[in-house]
């Protein structure tokens, strides 16, 4: 499938890679079509020369607009051919010749596109901020595009909360227009999962469940919608089941390759929420709800308690989890005494050191005199 797609385009390098990966496993039809490769390469060379000549001509003429368009064409050409670094450089060079803010926005969008493809999300963030700083008001489509790109950048940087905020702000105008970067379903999936992993309950309700805009997106991925609703209504078993189903697909996703972390975070939040409101919890029932064994559940809870995310203690004999609230009064006394001791020790040591230094200094001074 990839084979055919690539043949439609002109990207010979990618073609070579794919053929290498297939490695003759799918039959003779998919083996290296050397003639096609060479033909495409020659075509590319010709086109490249032509473009470069045009560009040089424009440069001697010093007409800004044509130079800009020349660089743009060069950038598009490189992009189609898979030379992403060169494409990026060409797009960036158009910057000097941009006259209107529309040009700037176009340049930013192309740069963002290439950077996302290259995986260099630092560039993405810088160009997004550049685009947002243009003096003219941006139309909503561009705004949505920029927000998507921002969301992707945050996702790559593992800042799930920021990514979720950005994705949830994307308006419905996006439709199918940014499809070379991200589809609406992806927006819904990414946004929903990141929100689930990083928002607390009130935020979840306000920004996700009651969000009318998002509802349109979520219609496209009903599984994610069900997932979020289940989590909110504390039906953790079905929620985690949905997540498990999605897992196999999402592991291959180009942007969500750290799905495991998200999954773990969502699971931890579910555990914390489950135990938050109770004084005591029967571990057996909880293990059923979370579809795990009691021993495994104990281990997970132990890690959470040690990290201080759950205030509770486990009664391993009866398999019950008891909520435990720290005794503030005792803790205060303890802390006060401890600070007193530390102060005592530090001040005495300091006075001693000061005395030693003074003595030493006096000794040296008297020796000099």
């Amino acid at each position: 499938m990839a084979h055919e797609e690539i043949k439609k385009g002109e990207n010979t390098q990618l073609y070579r890679e794919v053929v290498h990966k297939i490695d003759g496993r799918l039959g003779p039809k998919y083996s290296m079509d050397a003639t096609w490769c060479n033909m495409t390469d020659r075509k590319t060379e010709q086109r490249k020369e032509k473009l470069e000549n045009e560009l040089n001509a424009y440069r001697t003429n010093l007409i800004k607009e044509s130079i800009r368009m020349g660089y743009n064409d060069l950038g598009d050409f490189y992009y189609a051919h898979g030379a992403l670094g060169d494409a990026f450089k060409s797009y960036v060079r158009t910057r000097d010749y941009c006259t209107t803010s529309k040009h700037i926005i176009q340049m930013c969008l192309s740069a963002i596109l290439v950077s996302i493809e290259m995986g260099q999300f630092t560039h993405v963030t810088s160009y997004i901020s550049k685009a947002e700083q243009t003096p003219e008001a941006l139309d909503s489509l561009t705004v949505s595009k920029l927000r998507c790109a921002a969301g992707l950048a945050h996702l790559a940087a593992k800042k799930y909360k920021l990514a979720a905020c950005k994705f949830l702000e994307v308006g419905p105008e996006l439709g199918n227009s940014y499809s070379e970067v991200i589809s609406s379903q992806d927006v819904a999936t990414y946004g929903g999962l990141c929100a689930l992993a990083s928002f607390d309950r009130t935020e979840l309700k306000n920004k996700v469940i009651d969000n009318i805009n998002l509802r349109n997106f979520l219609e496209l991925v009903p599984k994610v919608r069900e997932l979020i609703n289940d989590f909110y209504s504390s039906q953790y078993a079905s929620c985690l089941e949905y997540l498990g189903n999605l897992k196999s697909n999402l592991m291959l996703d180009i942007h969500l390759h750290h799905f495991e972390t998200l999954y773990d975070q969502i699971r931890i939040k579910a555990l914390i929420q489950y135990t938050h409101s109770s004084v005591s919890v029967d571990l057996r029932m909880m293990a059923d709800a979370f579809k795990t064994s009691v021993a495994g559940l104990e281990k997970e809870l132990e890690t959470l308690i040690t990290d201080n995310q759950i205030q509770a203690r486990i009664d391993s004999h009866n398999k019950i989890l008891y909520a435990r609230h720290a005794n503030q009064r005792n803790a205060t006394f303890q802390r006060a005494l401890q600070i007193g001791n530390e102060f005592d020790r530090d001040v005495r040591a300091m006075l001693l050191r000061a005395n030693l230094l003074k003595h030493d200094y006096n000794l040296r001074a008297s020796r000099k005199v």
């Binding site: 308690i305 009664d315 391993s316 005792n330 102060f343 020790r345 040591a349 300091m350 030693l356 003074k358």
Partner: protein
């Protein structure tokens, strides 16, 4: 001979009032060399002098007597004489010649060690310290000698009584180093790790003109004690430690650093393997006992962590988590910790379960209130002392000259009380 007899009569005559004693001191200073010249024949004259009345003169004579090398037989009688002198001498008189007194006591210590009876020297040196000290906050050269004898005689409690006092004045840096080092060792012997840590910390962070062996040894013990006491060790010295220490101490203590690293990884098996592998190094530093205590502290810490998460836990689970070999061993460890007061728990042998309890201290008893009150009083005194020292320093001419030189400019808005140039 005549001069000596003459000196004896003068001592007998002039030991009455303070002014007399001062003039006596002058005589004695002048006659010091001649005394030393006749050191072998001075012993019988000692009987003519009474240590409680003629302390200064007796001291000079004694010092001259003991100046030469001493054999074992002479040592035992000499030890008796000096001990008697120390217990009966008058503090004011000997404070006039502290160096002589110190050297006499040092020789006393050497003789006691020669006789291999350090215990005989402990009590006399304690009295000697009390008489030489101008205040309990004063560290004399005798302090480390005394602590050394305590260590060798294994009577740690007496040593502890001296360590209880806070020291603020120090005569010589070397005394301070030795005092803290020996003091740390005594506290380790008594398992008072907090105080040991404090003393060793003082050695390591003291102003050090050059790296010395005492500091290196102290640093090694410091690493081990901090692992036992608080389970962690920060590899960087605090900012106020001297730059010499910060740069060089690490190089001499490499195996201990690796030990601390291995400890913080938390894997008992690896840690024990490391200890086994480096046994000779630790033994050569006489630290093997401490290292063994570090190993057992690792088990303790793991069990303590369990008390935070579990209300009840089976002995088998404890053994598994803490990597002990059997529930029986786990039971022994837990029992020991309960007895030492390190955790609060109850062992149910029928079910093989341990029930962890909360710290029963409710901070409501009279003893606790007294303890808190006395702590507050002590800290208030300490704060007052700090203010006093601060005021004294700000009046100190040396400080003012230095501070005056470092002022860059003298803004009208910047009235700070120290003029631009301050020359005395």
């Amino acid at each position: 001979m005549n001069s000596v007899e003459g000196l004896v009569t003068q001592i007998q005559g002039l030991s009455g009032t303070t002014s007399d004693v001062l003039s006596l001191q002058n005589f004695l200073k002048q006659a010091d060399d001649s005394l030393h010249a006749e050191s072998t024949r001075l012993l019988p004259f000692l009987d003519q002098l009474d240590p409680s009345k003629h302390s200064l003169g007796y001291l000079y004579f004694l010092e001259a007597c003991t100046a030469g090398p001493v054999t074992k037989e002479q040592a035992s009688s000499s030890v008796l004489t000096i001990a008697r002198f120390i217990s009966s001498c008058v503090a004011e008189q000997i404070r006039l010649a502290p160096d002589k007194f110190t050297s006499v006591c040092k020789r006393f210590k050497d003789q006691v060690l020669l006789l291999e009876e350090p215990l005989r020297g402990v009590a006399p040196l304690l009295t000697a310290i009390r008489k030489l000290q101008s205040s309990t906050e004063h560290l004399t050269t005798l302090h480390p000698e005394f602590l050394l004898l305590c260590l060798l005689a294994k009577c740690y409690k007496t040593g502890l009584s001296i360590l209880e006092e806070d020291i603020f004045e120090v005569d010589q840096l070397r005394d301070f180093f030795l005092y803290c080092y020996y003091g740390g060792m005594i506290c380790i012997g008594q398992k008072q790790f907090r105080k040991a840590l404090e003393l060793l910390h003082n050695v390591v962070t003291a102003p050090m003109p050059a790296i010395n062996a005492i500091a290196v040894e102290a640093y090694k013990k410091y690493i081990l004690v901090s692992l036992i006491h608080s389970g962690q060790f920060s590899t960087s010295l605090p900012k106020y430690a001297s730059s010499v220490a910060q740069r060089n101490l690490k190089n001499f203590c490499q195996p201990y650093f690796e030990l601390a690293n291995s400890y913080s990884n938390g894997k008992i098996a690896d840690f024990e393997r490391f200890v086994q592998a480096n046994k000779e190094k630790f033994e050569s530093d006489n630290n093997l006992g401490l290292v063994k205590q570090v190993v057992s502290s690792m088990y303790k810490r793991n069990i303590q962590r369990l008390t935070q998460t579990y209300l009840t836990l089976s002995l088998q689970d404890i053994a598994n988590t803490v990597q002990l070999n059997s529930p029986k061993e786990a039971e022994m460890h837990v029992l020991q910790m309960i007895q030492d007061g390190e955790i609060f728990a109850m062992i149910n042998q029928k079910d093989g379960m341990v029930r962890f309890l909360e710290d029963p201290e409710k901070y409501k008893t009279c003893e606790m209130i007294e303890h808190i009150d006395s702590s507050i009083q002590r800290l208030m005194t300490l704060s007052k002392k700090l203010t006093v020292v601060n005021e004294l320093t700000s009046c100190d001419p040396l400080y003012l000259t230095k501070a005056g030189k470092e002022r860059q400019r003298f803004d009208f808005d910047d009235f700070d009380g120290v003029p631009q140039r301050f020359n005395i």
